[in-house]
Amino acid sequence: MKKITTPLTMDVIEDLEAGDEVYINGKIYTMRDEAHKRIAEMITNKQKLPFDLKNQVVYYCGPTPAKDGHIIGSCGPTTSSRMDKYTPLLLKNGLKGMIGKGERSVEVKDAIKKYKAVYFSALGGLGALYADNIKQAKVIAFPELGPEAIYELEVEDFYAIVINDAHGNDYYVMNQYN
């Protein structure tokens, strides 16, 4: 088990290998379909982004509402492939990590290798468990999107597995054919 902290440094990224189990600590940013679309448009139009992508990690997640006295609701990962068409652009602009679930496109895998980034899978369908790992949550952009707004999350020992590492390895492929 490797304990890592965001923002990700090149040393950490180089050290991570497909299949590594990690505990992620620090700030991560939730982004789903619509937020990706908007961020991609902002990049294309050279507008200032709601957060600096440089070395950051995004989490494909749309939580349930928090009950009174709680930080967040259920908050597991959503399917990553829906974000594939925007991911290479984000990686080109400094993003270094993504947390989601499921396979990525060839273009995304190539971009992960090219820009030296890493793709993690969280455990899909375990949103109640992940709530314990969120220490702070605040909406920093697009509040009108409700669960699809961008949340800045402070996470502690957030469990994930490296699927695509910066060296071009893919844990899903390694698994199914070994």
Partner: protein, 278 residues
């Protein structure tokens, strides 16, 4: 004629919406435990046991099992001796709206093209069926998009070999891969037409996870499909191993002489549904 008030349906549906999202059915929990014990891949085994932990955490009532609390699919069997004092569709949707609000559940229904979220998780998808009797049976299934997006239908020609149908089911699961939250429960609908085959596949997911189809031939097909799907080695969470699916449910119905529709509805491991009979 038995009269049932609209309010009773609203309250029942609201309760179903909350309960389905916080309590994983016992039969599902039991089968996941069995597979977890047998699993040989360490990471997958760990993940399978975490499903049980997640179930225990969710049933305390603070956090739903999954953040995708689904679009609500409601199956209603209404007795022909029942008279509803009110509008059943309005009652169900009101129940969903109340349940999703009170239960702190995510509202996921949206206008399809403009993508405007309605904020109520309505309208629900409602299937009404009239049956003999004086009761109403309401089953609510909270269906996440991850697994629904990977579901599929194919219109086969009638002379197609059964092996082709098996391959279609397997290819559909293969295509879902790690994306739709394996281990899966696979619902298969064979026969009917373009709208009923998927409905059969979906209804099959309401069956007890441990049962087999009463028709022996179809039961054997279910066992064969489960074996073949688990040979894919996608595994729990896509981490490899023995547990790509934990059950396959096949339902059939008659179809046109020129037709053979086959639908595959994928269900994620968080197989949330609940039934109440009024």
């Amino acid at each position: 004629m038995r009269i049932i008030q609209e309010k009773q349906i609203i309250d029942t549906v609201a309760k179903l919406a909350i309960d389905a999202n916080y309590y994983l059915p016992y039969d599902v929990v039991a089968v996941i435990k069995e597979f977890a014990k047998k699993e040989r891949n360490k990471k997958a085994k760990n993940g399978l046991f975490k499903i049980i932990e997640n179930y225990k955490k969710a049933k305390k009532g603070i956090y739903p099992l999954c953040q995708d609390t689904g679009i609500a699919v409601v199956f209603v069997e209404i007795g022909n001796n029942v008279c509803i004092n009110g509008d059943i569709y309005r009652a169900i949707n009101k129940g969903i709206e109340i349940g999703y609000e009170k239960g702190y559940l995510r509202k996921s229904t949206t206008e399809p093209l403009k993508r405007k979220n309605f904020g109520t998780n309505t309208p629900a998808i409602i299937h009404l069926e009239v049956v003999p009797g004086s009761k109403i049976k309401i089953s609510l299934m909270t269906k996440g998009a991850g697994a629904e997006n990977k579901s599929n239908i194919k219109m086969f020609t009638p002379t197609e070999d059964i092996e082709e149908i098996i391959q279609f089911v397997i290819d559909t699961v293969k295509n879902a891969g790690a994306s739709a939250c394996p281990p899966y429960i696979i619902g298969v609908g064979i026969g009917g037409n373009f709208e009923t085959a998927p409905l059969l596949a979906k209804k099959a997911l309401l069956r007890n996870i441990k049962d087999f189809n009463k028709n022996k031939e179809i039961a054997n097909l279910e066992k064969l499909l489960l074996k073949r799907i688990n040979e894919l080695k996608i595994g729990a969470f896509g981490f490899g191993g023995d547990t790509t699916a934990i059950a396959v449910k096949v339902e059939t119905m008659p179809c046109h002489i020129a037709s053979l529709p086959v639908a595959v509805n994928i269900q994620c491991h968080s197989a949330r549904h609940k039934t109440i009979i009024i």
